[in-house]
Point group: C2
Chain length 149, copies 2
DNA sequence: CTTGACCTTCCAACGATGGGAAGCCCCATT
DNA sequence: AATGGGGCTTCCCATCGTTGGAAGGTCAAG
């Protein structure tokens, strides 16, 4: 099976299949005499695993762990659970972060008349944030670490 | 005021200040004879504006629009509101997406015993995702017919 | 005058993906 | 058999916002 067929069968684009191979996430595919990569149905199975994990938001590092656990018949389910739980916690943090933004934005948008006049509480808040909706960043902010030393 | 002081005063790292200048998000700073960038308190004010907009998750393209509107005294608040609302909608979509992931993950994690045994519903789902109509499996048809284009 | 902190520019990397070019390979149709 | 079109190969570049580092110039205190 060529890479294009494997891509269609797995839902992972040919580009990404080559990338996953290059970065070591998946083992190198077999090659034909022509140099074309050759995929078995088991390879496609693995690619679908990766695709599904990506759909659930797992990072490639986490997928690497999950693939190792998947292949390890003597794995402990606790290890899998740990990886999944850690990812879920991170997702929840991101959601909380985004929710905070939306809450603030909704407040500001609600206060904006949205007409022809220039006065705008949204710009006013960006200029000098009001204390009524302070946006406290979580102390361990991942995306925007405080540049202050 | 040097770039380091402006960075500390605005909460935007010196690296990012240079980057914002380079990409045209902010106008080029004044220069001393030494070549050092020189910042006024108004510059810092603008940097704080940018910083707060980033904290609210606005993209640099959106911040560009917001800065233009900020500087335009004859702006219509409707234009500001439009930018903010569009961003909020996008944030809500991302949240919905993440929530979907978390919901699935929570279900799987709840089903996982998390002990020394290898059996794991998390891996089982990654291998073969549970479908809403699990019995319907037409042969030859792709389960996920849409490989991301 | 030396030292160390600061500044400058330039280059690279991150994660995950897409786009595209140049060139080879395979299959079907003339 | 030749040809054409589509698939495959590798390689490089772009995204987005941010950080890191190297090489070298500047400033201020000791």
């Amino acid at each position: 099976m060529n890479i294009g067929q494997a891509a269609r069968a797995s839902g992972v684009s040919a580009k990404m299949i080559r990338y996953y191979e290059q970065t070591g996430l998946i083992p190198p595919a077999g090659r034909r005499d022509s140099g074309y990569r050759d995929y078995s149905s088991e390879d496609v199975h693995m690619l679908r695993f990766v695709r599904r994990a990506r759909d659930l938001g797992f990072s490639m590092a986490a997928i690497n762990e999950l693939l190792d656990l998947w292949r390890d018949r003597s794995r402990r389910s606790a290890d899998v659970k740990r990886v999944a739980t850690a990812h879920m916690i991170e997702l929840r943090e991101r959601i909380a972060h985004l929710n905070q933004m939306v809450t603030t934005l909704q407040t500001l948008v609600d206060c904006c008349s949205g007409d022809h006049r220039p006065d705008c509480p949204i710009l006013a808040d960006l200029e000098e944030p009001a204390e009524e909706h302070p946006r406290k960043r979580p102390s361990g902010a991942l995306q925007r670490p405080n540049p202050r030393p």
